[in-house]
């Protein structure tokens, strides 16, 4: 069964719409600033969504608001806004920050006084992405907030595919959302993988990642649902692979065994050969370990001439949102026939056998691969196919 993408909603520092994202990609803009959403001593460029004002819930539920905004855009794109009633809808959204009760003000007061206001707890209990989205949209069906670290968004899309294939829902909304937050900022800083300069994925002189925020949501449908309402798809998600390294809490397997299995599994499900892949949107965080392992595996599977890039240079690392955003970026690139330069890359790393694209590069409108790696040994990959506007029966 083919799973189609009929709607895309993307919000990141690179743009609050698909069109704005394409413009900034083409221009090679890197929209960074110091962290402005909270005061911090940590100096690292941040990729924030500036002037974001779509507040469906209280402003402090930023991850949820970003999520719902992306979902609303994706549903509008799919022609399904306010048309979900009576349908079995699955919602799978990935996040990291959105799943954690990490309000420093609440905890500071609790520590000092043994009691604290429940306002932040109430907010936290409102903020489970999939549950809140179901309640907001008044829909019923499978619900899953995926917290698989930085692979969450990609896994959420894969899970939604599985639901539709197994007949658990007719339509699924999937992707990820995360906000700029102090806890991961401090945490990545403590691990020594937060760069004080602009991130440079796959570059010889890379010094780590920059954090970002945003949300990416896709509307997925099977052929039956699509044919019933005669809506043209934008793409098809043809394969999903996921595999755990079973190696280490924070470091990827040095040989990339889990990543290789995840990509191979996605290609197998898609029934697509590596030679048919037009380009790869790599996880490419800009850390030493990630880029080394990923470069090694991509070269092994796809050969030295594969076109690939990291979009983290435009969005920062949006953690649980990254997979949803980057699947959406793949669709935009397949439709447009080009990928942007891999922002931040200048010097080839002799330890990495391949190098990303350094300019706006034409790509075939065929298949793309999007990869995600995360703490806990998570690896996930999607194979995405360009769909012409003729629909599934063509």
């Amino acid at each position: 069964m083919k799973i189609y993408v009929t709607g895309v909603g993307l919000i990141s520092a690179a743009g609050k719409t698909c069109a704005e994202t394409l413009e900034s990609f083409k221009a090679g803009e890197r929209r960074t600033s110091a962290v402005s959403l909270f005061s911090t001593q940590i100096k690292s460029p941040a990729y924030e969504v500036k002037n974001f004002s779509r507040h469906y819930f209280p402003e402090k539920l930023r991850t949820l608001n970003l999520c719902l905004a992306a979902i609303e855009d994706a549903l509008t794109d799919a022609g399904l806004k306010n048309k979900l009633q009576g349908k079995r809808i699955g919602i799978a959204m990935g996040t990291t920050v959105g799943s954690i009760l990490n309000d420093l003000d609440f905890y500071r007061v609790y520590r000092e006084k043994g009691k604290s206001s429940m306002e932040s707890v109430d907010r936290y209990l409102q903020g489970n992405l999939a549950s809140a989205a179901h309640a907001f949209l008044k829909t019923e069906g499978p619900s899953m907030t995926v917290v698989n670290a930085c692979a969450s968004g990609t896994d959420a899309i894969g899970i939604a595919m599985s639901w539709i294939k197994s007949g658990l829902c007719d339509i699924a909304i999937a992707g990820g959302s995360d906000e700029m937050n102090r806890v991961p900022l401090c945490g990545f800083g403590s691990l020594g993988i937060l760069s004080e300069s602009l991130c440079a994925p796959f570059d010889k002189n890379r010094t780590g990642l920059n954090l970002g925020e945003g949300a990416g949501a896709l509307v997925l449908e099977g052929e039956t649902s699509l044919q019933k309402r005669a809506h043209a798809p934008r793409a098809a998600v043809r394969g999903y692979g996921t595999c755990n390294d079973a190696h280490h809490l924070t470091s990827p397997d040095p040989q990339g065994i889990g990543l290789e299995k995840a990509i191979t599994s996605a290609l197998h499900e898609a029934r697509v050969q590596p030679s048919e892949i037009s380009f790869i949107n790599a996880h490419g965080t800009g850390t030493q370990d990630n880029d080394l392992v990923e470069g090694f595996v991509l070269n092994k599977l796809f050969g030295p001439n594969i076109k690939f890039l990291s979009t983290k240079g435009y969005t920062g690392h949006a953690l649980g949102a990254a997979g949803g955003l980057e699947a959406g970026f793949c669709i935009l690139a397949l439709e447009s026939g080009w990928i942007p330069q891999s922002a931040g890359f200048k010097n080839k790393d002799p330890q990495i056998p391949i190098a990303p694209v350094t300019k706006v590069t034409p790509v075939k409108k065929s298949f793309a691969v999007s990869t995600s790696l995360g703490f806990g040994g998570c690896n996930a990959a999607l194979v995405i196919e360009f769909a012409d506007k003729a629909g599934p029966s063509s």
Binding site: Y107, R111, S162, S190, T242
Partner: protein, 346 residues
């Protein structure tokens, strides 16, 4: 939904570790919970039960949440009789939680408050991420298949079960280890006290179907090893999960295990499942109030089907009575009064 055959169950709770201890607790019924330093009652896992040096040798630095997860998952495999090496390549793992490893998250916040943003512990940060427990599980058991961590406040296990079905149905692999974990820290004790009515005498009374139920916070982990192969059945099977709010339950259910844990508001709606000819069981006073407690209810249901014994208020050896138990439905609710049903068959 094709039946998901249960080949092994692992449970760790305040009542001990292992399915045998869990069954013993079901037979014994309620015992008083322990008290925290602040005098709050809670059902906590004993440190002795979290100190298996063989299973935890690769997880020495893990927090309580991760250790409980790993031990319950390990026990589910052990209970199945399968050798780890035989299932490592064919098993996916799904770990569901409501609140995650929040004591480690609070410990990380301690670090920010005590030492400043630039001097926090990287080890604590790594352990505070929701999927750290899953990482320990896969590393220790050598499971190199898919491993997913998911979170939901009220129905985490039910949705995890649906994913387990989807994965097995797609033949992504042959086995799924699926379960839940939740812990109860002192800060969470306080939050529970603010958000729920705590039974200060330690008695939850889950059969009262009260409009204002009381709870005693609990913690634990419960895991199931599942497959589509009937030859691997040891406890019966999960045969359906129903999330539609139009659904009212399976009429053929011999027993309803209800999720009266005092954490989702009024429990009056469960009255409809009791009464003439209907058997209702509730076990939350055995392991305590947990938002992820439905997995424990399902473990109890699986034991009812296997042992043909009705635990709880009326502990009856069904084998000696006339009517066999062939179907059990486990029902949970959320704070909106919405119900989700899981069906288990013999």
């Amino acid at each position: 939904m094709k039946p998901l055959f249960i080949s092994g169950i692992g449970v760790i709770s305040a009542r001990g570790r292992g399915i045998e201890k869990f069954e013993a607790a079901l037979k014994q019924g309620w015992i008083a919970p322990s008290l925290s330093q602040a005098g709050r009652p809670a059902y906590r896992i004993s440190n002795d039960d979290l100190s298996d040096s063989d299973v935890l040798k690769t997880a020495k630095r893990a927090d309580r949440f991760s250790k409980a997860t790993l031990l319950a998952a390990y026990d589910a495999v052990k209970d199945s009789g399968a050798a780890l090496k035989d299932i490592q390549e064919s098993t996916g793992a799904i770990v569901a939680t409501a609140l995650g490893s929040h004591s480690t998250i609070f410990k990380f916040l301690d670090g920010i408050l005590d030492y400043g943003e630039k001097s926090v512990s990287p080890t604590t940060f790594a352990h505070s991420i929701h999927n750290a427990a899953t990482s320990y599980l896969t590393s220790a058991l050598g499971c190199k298949g898919p491993a997913i961590t998911v979170t939901d406040f009220y129905f985490p296990f039910q949705h995890a079960l649906m994913l387990a079905y989807a994965w097995l149905n797609e033949e992504r692999f042959r086995h799924v280890l699926v379960g839940v974990s939740d812990e109860c820290s002192s800060a969470m004790d306080y939050i529970f006290e603010e958000k729920f009515q705590i039974a200060s005498d330690g008695k939850m009374n889950p059969h009262a179907f009260s409009e204002n139920p009381k709870t005693v916070p609990g913690e634990g982990s419960a895991f199931f090893l599942l497959s589509l192969n009937p030859a691997e059945k040891k406890y019966g099977a999960f045969s359906a999960v129903e999330t539609s709010q139009a659904f009212k339950g399976w009429s053929e259910a011999d027993i309803s295990v209800v999720g009266t844990n005092g954490m989702g508001g009024s429990e009056k709606m469960y009255e409809q499942f009791s009464g003439k000819g209907k058997s209702v069981a509730a076990f939350s006073d055995i392991y305590g109030g947990m938002m992820a407690s439905s997995a424990f209810d399902c473990a109890a249901a699986a034991l009812i089907l296997k042992k043909q014994r009705s635990y709880g208020v009326s502990d009856i050896d069904i084998k000696k009575s006339e009517k066999a138990v062939n179907t059990v439905q486990c029902i949970s609710h959320n704070n909106l009064g919405e119900l989700v049903f899981v069906k288990l068959i013999k």
